[in-house]
Subunit: 192 residues, 2 copies
């Protein structure tokens, strides 16, 4: 049947590249997280998986508050940097020239330049082995005004991107629209 | 500062469109899951968030085994269909003409047509409100032989796609490469 086994692999498409923020030792810090996604709708929740020794995790565990910021493609260099540098050594906010603002929660630093910002309160922390899985309740959503069309978030203005690991580690833009969702599948529904 | 608040929203880019499989009442069934992602590296783990009343969830809770199948763009119609139909009423495998195979685990149905298949054993189930968050240990990874280049998964052959919800619900291909990861950010590291 033309299948090859590879052993247990963390092989997934697409992966995001988000900037997860927390106040660590009273200073805002951000790290790049690809293992991040929505996990609940009522109430809205998101999860982020972070390696135990990461500096940002200290701040999340301490305050039980964090942010998820979705960068646009013009922030690809800063996004990559926040994944390879550590807040224990560098002031990433300064290096990246992030403009940090705060919303409803005191300890969720948000990046003004990112089109979407989610403020989150920790509701669960699961130790899975190498990583802590943090589940957060989304308390507020911010979007840059210029990324709206008729009051709705517009993917063409947000210009998010995808993190791809194989065959080479790279960031890719969103491409052409293939089909309308919750729609094209109905053709199969009708035919049976 | 040009930001608009939207209240708590499940707003995330990119989201995948995966086909999560389980044997329900001894028959393979698949549902489309956008809230799915890697959560641990050692050992490899993945999470899927599924609304409590979904048919597939019964099979996962019963056998504590499931699969995650990553479709390529030529399966976009079938992928959409598996999100709008229920296995309690339709035989989705038959409608979609999926060729189902089994690997190491007895109860993880895998779709041959999907370039990537992950066999998973449940290690945690978290009730978050509307959804159950299932964390699974990846026991084996299968890839279609024709999606490899020099023995490595090749995104250009896999042709995965992204699920986008706003402003309209649609599926998008992966687009142009913007930058090399773990690389372009180093420019900022050097400059400081």
């Amino acid at each position: 049947m033309g299948k090859v086994t590879m052993g247990p692999q963390t092989l997934m498409y697409p992966m995001p590249a988000t900037l997860v923020g927390a106040n660590v030792n009273n200073k805002p810090n951000f790290m790049t997280v690809a293992w991040c996604g929505i996990v609940n709708s009522e109430p809205p929740m998101i999860s982020v998986a972070i390696r135990h020794n990461r500096y940002t995790l200290k701040g999340i565990r301490d305050k039980l508050i964090f942010s998820v910021n979705i960068p646009s493609r013009d922030l690809v260099k800063e996004t990559d940097y926040c994944g390879i540098a550590s807040g224990s050594k560098a002031n990433k906010v300064e290096v990246c020239q992030f403009k940090v603002f705060y919303g409803k929660l005191n300890d969720a630093p948000l990046i003004e330049q990112c089109p979407i910002n989610l403020e989150c309160k920790v509701v669960h922390i699961l130790d899975l082995g190498s990583h802590s899985l943090i589940v957060g309740r989304i308390e507020e959503t911010y979007i840059s005004e210029n990324c709206l069309t008729d009051g709705k978030p517009d993917v063409n203005k947000i210009e998010p991107f995808v993190y791809t690991r194989t065959p080479s580690q790279q960031y890719q833009a969103f491409g052409e629209v293939i089909a309308k969702a919750h729609s094209i599948g109905a053709e199969l529904k009708v035919s049976k």
